[in-house]
């Protein structure tokens, strides 16, 4: 189970993560990503990896969690 973790200090509201993962990431009125911290369904895993790679600020890390934190 992959969970998205966004570093709010590094994030600069490029918004690529929301483009790639609209099912899991939405943007607030100022362009910053909102993630709910829930594990992603497996079919979104590759999109999540792409989002982490494409983020110009490297603000996204993906956490492998077997159970809730």
């Amino acid at each position: 189970m992959i969970r998205i973790l966004i570093d709010p200090i590094a994030c600069d509201a490029y918004g690529y993560c929301a483009e790639l993962l609209p099912e899991a990431v939405s943007l607030d009125e100022w362009g910053y990503p909102i993630v709910d911290g829930r594990p992603l369904p497996p079919e979104l895993a590759s999109a999540a990896k792409r989002a982490a790679r494409d983020c110009p600020r490297r603000a996204i890390t993906l956490r492998e969690r077997t159970s809730g934190h």
Binding site: L5, D7, P8, I9, A10, C11, D12, A13, D28, E29, W30, G31, Y32, I34
Partner: protein, 427 residues
């Protein structure tokens, strides 16, 4: 200013205030700090066991169990630092200033004990430069200790910038480390702070004083006060619509209204602000709530940094909350979008509400923004602001309806009953 502050009431054996301020008197009353001649592993483990037995939790706002934090720091190995957080950026709080002026040796003994327990090589006392009385008292105390040989680990004073966020734990550690006073993102609370690539243990001044008392009087003396679930005593600054603002030392579990009564409220309080400007309002129906973590959490509040502000009858809670929201927005470290943009937007909405100039969508927008900003910063600053505003909307819900209809209460424009530092920009 601590002349105007006075300890309003401290009773019983276990206490932080009321001891002699000078080193000789301190040692005569409490004995020398129980530092080991050689901090063996056995001693270190014994010390952490005592801290754990006491059930002490931090008095700097987060309320984190002291024993857990200590164990974490011990795992970092020798050569680290102990940092005394005397920043007290909370405008409504004076307890740390008073403690450092009146019982500096208690705080410093606590720091030395932690240094021994973590094999640290340095104790750094962080206090803003402008607090001349505190700095003078600390300098005097440090000199006394050096002369008497009571400081096995060097004690050094440092002056981080006088901003709200500078007292945040990670920002403070980073400032000591690199001079930049900015919180960092810590998704894993289990990772210790670092200064100079070695472990750093940052503790609030009051927490350190408790550690020293627990070490010399034993964990049972601490547990004998307060409640089983939340033992010991706390220092609380009472201010607002009261005749005798000041710092009280109370047992955990004391009902809120009893705490503020000692400051002689000038009338029946309209509401109490508990925990600081990032804390929460408490309405009259909850005035009897015991001052303890679990009971305060149940009403949406926390003990926070030991603050209780009395809001008098002739005041508008929404207007005061708008002032607080603007203050908190201006104190952002400026690193995270939701805080930088969200807090001013929330403060704006609240101001419009306070003036009775709400547009039809304001309340919905405000609630949405509160939900969106909460938890989306690197530190807890925006969370505190959100909690404060949410509690205001709840506690002052009777006024809310009138304000929304464009009829604010008559007191909204009166001078504030709250304190704000001169350095905060004001109109």
């Amino acid at each position: 200013m601590p002349d105007a502050l006075d300890l309003l009431a401290t009773t019983g054996q276990y206490r932080l205030l009321g001891h002699p301020t000078d080193l000789a008197g301190h040692i005569a009353t409490l004995g020398p700090a129980p530092l080991p001649s050689d901090a063996s592993r056995g001693w270190r483990q014994g010390f952490i066991a005592a801290v754990e037995a006491s059930g002490l939790s931090g008095r700097g706002g987060a309320g984190f169990p002291a024993a857990v934090k200590l164990a974490l720091a011990q795992s970092g190995g020798p050569g680290g630092s102990v940092v005394v957080n005397g920043m007290e950026g909370e405008p409504a709080s004076d307890k740390d200033k008073l403690l450092l002026i009146r019982s500096p040796h208690l705080v410093l003994d606590g720091a030395q004990l932690l240094a021994a327990a973590t094999e640290a090589r340095r104790v750094t006392l962080c206090v803003p430069e402008g607090r001349r009385r505190v700095v003078a008292a600390l300098r005097r105390a440090i000199e006394e200790r050096m002369a008497a040989g009571c400081a096995p680990v060097p004690e050094v004073i440092a002056h981080p910038p006088d901003r709200f966020v500078a007292g945040e734990e990670s920002a403070l550690a980073r400032w000591v480390d690199s001079g930049r006073s900015l919180p960092f993102f810590r998704p894993d609370k289990g990772v210790a702070l670092q200064i100079g690539r070695r472990g750093a243990l940052v503790h609030n001044a009051e927490t350190l004083a408790h550690l020293a008392m627990i070490a010399s009087t034993g964990p049972e003396a601490f547990r004998a006060r307060g409640l089983p679930e939340d033992p010991g005593t706390s220092l609380v600054t009472v201010s607002g619509a009261v005749e005798l603002p000041g710092v009280v030392e109370i047992e955990r579990g004391t009902p809120l209204i009893d705490i503020v009564r000692r400051a002689l409220p000038t009338g029946q309080p309209q509401a109490l602000l508990v925990g600081g400007y990032g804390g929460a309002w408490v309405g009259p129906q909850d005035f009897a709530t015991p001052y303890a973590s679990f009971s305060l959490r149940a009403i949406g509040a926390t003990a926070g940094v030991g603050v209780a502000v009395v809001l008098g009858q002739n005041a508008c809670g929404l207007a005061e909350s708008a002032r607080i929201a603007h203050f908190l927005a201006g104190q952002s470290a400026g690193q995270c979008g939701p805080c930088v943009y969200g807090l001013p937007a929330i403060a704006d909405d609240l101001t419009r509400l306070a003036r009775g100039q709400a547009d039809p969508g304001l309340l919905a927008r405000l609630h949405r923004r509160l939900g969106e900003v909460d938890g989306r910063g690197a530190c807890r600053h925006p969370d505190g602001a959100v909690n404060l505003v949410r509690s205001a909307l709840h506690v002052f819900s009777a006024d809310l309806a009138a304000h929304l209809d464009g009829v604010p209460c008559p007191h909204w424009n009166r001078p504030s009953q709250l304190r704000f530092p001169d350095s905060a920009r004001a109109a």
